[in-house]
């Protein structure tokens, strides 16, 4: 096994079951994350990004309504096989998690400071006043002024961006070796966003932590990520180093995504990718993107394209790009 490897996810499946249907939110997903690497995960709204993070953290499990399968090796151990108790020790300690919805991590009846202080108290057995001072320091680090007063406030007294930063402070308080950040900067203005991204890069530089960063902001991806994985309908459809992906996108979905980005100064009507996102429960055979793909041809209807190596470190799941490779 590779020593640099921090996270190795193989054939991960996470479904939501109800009586009428099964939603295949994550379907046979594989990727790796090296130590000290920042991997960007982008993709259409509802394609299964958050579900992936929840599966890795085992916030969804194998139950009546949820189905989880596959392997996810973190520092050599399979997270999927761990007991709930073991996971509790890992969450918030070795793996820091910034949930997409900050309110799901914040309790409305405890002060923000108490909730952050709980992390070092629980995982590092820090004494109460020590934990409190760690909490204050973290709040300061994420750019919340007047942190001593603010620490004693409740979630509803914080602005949207302040809540988000409180959750970031909580995730970083445990000094994690893997940080999973689900849209951590959606509510932050660009200057504070830059500060938060800087904080993550620092964490990476100083402790060789790996970061899985989910974001819709391709500008953010371009600035901080080393590699990008593009997800569509529960699967990874393209994977490449940042430069490569922005300059030579292969998959038609990636191309469409890049093209629908608004640019300052250009007032042209934005062009979204045509068609609707697929239902995740009535998946037809073949390529999942074919109905919306301007280049689709016969084979796309019948055969599902596997992730194909196109260049060093660059993979794409499209018949066209693999064909182009073969014709060379």
């Amino acid at each position: 096994m590779n020593d640099d490897l921090l996270l190795d996810v193989r054939h991960l499946k996470a479904y939501f079951r109800s009586k009428q249907r099964t939603v295949k939110a994550v379907d046979d997903l594989s990727f790796t994350l090296k130590k000290g690497e920042i991997l960007g995960l982008v993709g259409e709204s509802g394609c299964g990004k958050s579900t992936t993070t929840k599966a890795l953290l085992r916030l969804i499990g194998n139950q009546r309504k949820e189905y989880l399968e596959g392997e996810a090796f973190f520092e050599g151990e399979d997270l999927i096989k761990k007991s709930d108790k073991q996971m509790q020790k890992i969450r918030g300690n070795k793996i820091g998690f910034i949930a997409q919805n900050p309110m799901s991590s914040l309790n409305p009846v405890f002060t923000i400071g108490n909730q952050i202080a709980e992390v070092p108290q629980m995982h590092q057995r820090a004494a109460k006043n020590k934990a409190w001072s760690i909490a204050l320091k973290m709040l300061q680090k994420v750019g919340i002024s007047d942190h001593e007063t603010r620490a004693k406030q409740y979630a509803h007294q914080f602005s949207g961006g302040m809540k988000q930063r409180a959750v970031i402070a909580m995730a970083l308080a445990g000094n994690p070796s893997l940080l999973i950040a689900d849209e951590p900067t959606t509510a932050l203005d660009v200057t504070i966003q830059a500060q938060i991204l800087d904080l993550m890069v620092k964490l990476r530089d100083e402790t060789q932590a790996g970061v899985l960063l989910i974001t819709h902001d391709l500008g953010v991806v371009a600035e901080v990520c080393d590699r990008v994985a593009v997800m569509y309908a529960g699967k990874i459809v393209e994977q490449a180093p940042v430069d490569e992906l922005f300059h030579h996108p292969q998959h038609p979905y990636t191309k469409g995504l890049l093209a629908s980005m608004p640019k300052i100064g250009s007032r042209k009507k934005l062009i979204p990718i045509s068609g609707h996102p697929p239902n995740l429960y009535e998946m037809q055979g073949g390529c999942l993107f074919q109905e919306r793909c301007p280049f689709a041809f016969d084979r796309c209807k019948n055969v599902e394209p596997p992730l194909h190596k196109i260049a060093e470190n660059h993979q794409s799941a499209c018949h066209l790009s693999s064909e182009r490779m073969n014709s060379f």
Binding site: S45, L218, V242, N279
Partner: protein, 328 residues
């Protein structure tokens, strides 16, 4: 200027102070000056973009405009009427014409109600019959790209972006004349973001909607707005036409903000103006100009006197000593 000219929405010297601490007699002694003396107007059919640092008072301004919060002082006119003077019943009638798209889509939906019920609720409140309701909802939900089979699910069964779109559909269901959109596309991927922005623009063209559009994404603001206001620590610091703002930003904070925009081109180096210093506290804001502690151009006068809100060129307002001196 025409003397009879009445803007659609006008706020004068609007203030909102939140108490944060009580003294020993149980009286409020300290306040967060969330919105501190802000004046502006919005024309009918216009989009005013609002940007600014996290926690600077954007959402609070939006809430004040819809009278969801009672202002500490100041007046606010909607369609020629002072909302603070209206009776309960009259205000309720007016509510139909003004809607809020909330920043946090998870929290804005009751977790125990199906999406269907939540969508019907506002229409029911204004006495629409069942058929009209279902039709309105069907059209909207299609327009934002949520399959109608999903309607009887609960909020926790949706992804972040799906909920955001449901929130948008819910706010637009009443066909309001004025919409405060608080970070309405923060959780959407570029392609669906494009779809939603186009939808909002189309509605504006068709029904002459007026928007207050709050976002931290400056390319989205650029695409949507006619005029843009920049806030810093409870105050408006600059307000002008979109083009003027991007081409010749006057206020140093606006300049810093524009320079910090992440660009979706890896390895393109940029001259970012990194703001130094801590974000000052809204409880004890700096004397004089609030921005002076982080301003690269600050002078002695900035600490002594609060800069005035001056129209430097036609329609271009700015509050900054340095700029105003340079122009004299």
């Amino acid at each position: 200027m025409n003397r009879d000219y009445k803007p659609f929405i006008r706020v004068d010297h609007l203030k909102k102070y939140f108490p944060v601490a009580k003294n020993w007699r149980g009286k409020n002694s300290q306040y967060v000056k969330a919105v501190d003396d802000v004046s502006f107007s919005i024309d009918k059919g216009e989009t005013l973009g609002l940007v600014g640092e996290s926690g600077c008072g954007k959402s609070t301004t939006g809430r004040l405009l819809l009278h969801l919060l009672t202002p500490t002082s100041g007046s606010l006119f909607f369609d020629g009427q002072d909302l603070t003077q209206l009776s309960k019943q009259a205000l309720w009638q007016k509510r139909r014409e003004m809607q809020f798209i909330f920043q946090d889509p998870y929290a804005a939906l009751n977790p125990r109600m199906t999406i269907q019920d939540s969508l019907h609720e506002p229409l029911k409140a204004y006495g629409e019959d069942k058929r009209t309701r279902s039709e309105t909802i069907k059209t909207l939900i299609d327009a934002v790209g949520i399959p109608s089979q999903y309607l009887n699910r609960y909020p926790h069964e949706f992804s972040g972006g799906q909920l955001q779109r449901i929130g948008i559909a819910r706010s637009l269901a009443l066909k309001p004349k004025f919409v405060v959109a608080d970070e309405p596309v923060a959780a959407l991927d570029m392609s669906i973001q494009a779809q939603i922005l186009n939808l909002m623009k189309e509605l504006q063209h068709a029904f002459n909607y007026t928007y207050l559009f709050i976002s931290h994404d400056l390319s989205v603001i650029d695409y949507m707005s006619d005029r843009i206001g920049v806030m810093y620590l409870g105050k408006m610091v600059e307000l002008t036409d979109r083009d003027a703002l991007y081409q010749e930003p006057l206020h140093p904070y606006t300049q810093a903000l524009l320079s910090a925009i992440p660009i979706a081109e890896p390895q393109r180096s940029k001259n970012k103006i990194m703001l130094k210093g801590e974000i000052p506290s809204p409880v004890h804001p700096p004397s004089g100009c609030h921005f002076r502690t982080r301003c690269p151009f600050a002078k002695a006068i900035c600490a002594e006197k609060e800069p005035e809100w001056v129209e430097m060129k036609k329609g271009h307002y700015v509050a900054c000593h340095v700029v105003q001196e340079a122009h004299q």
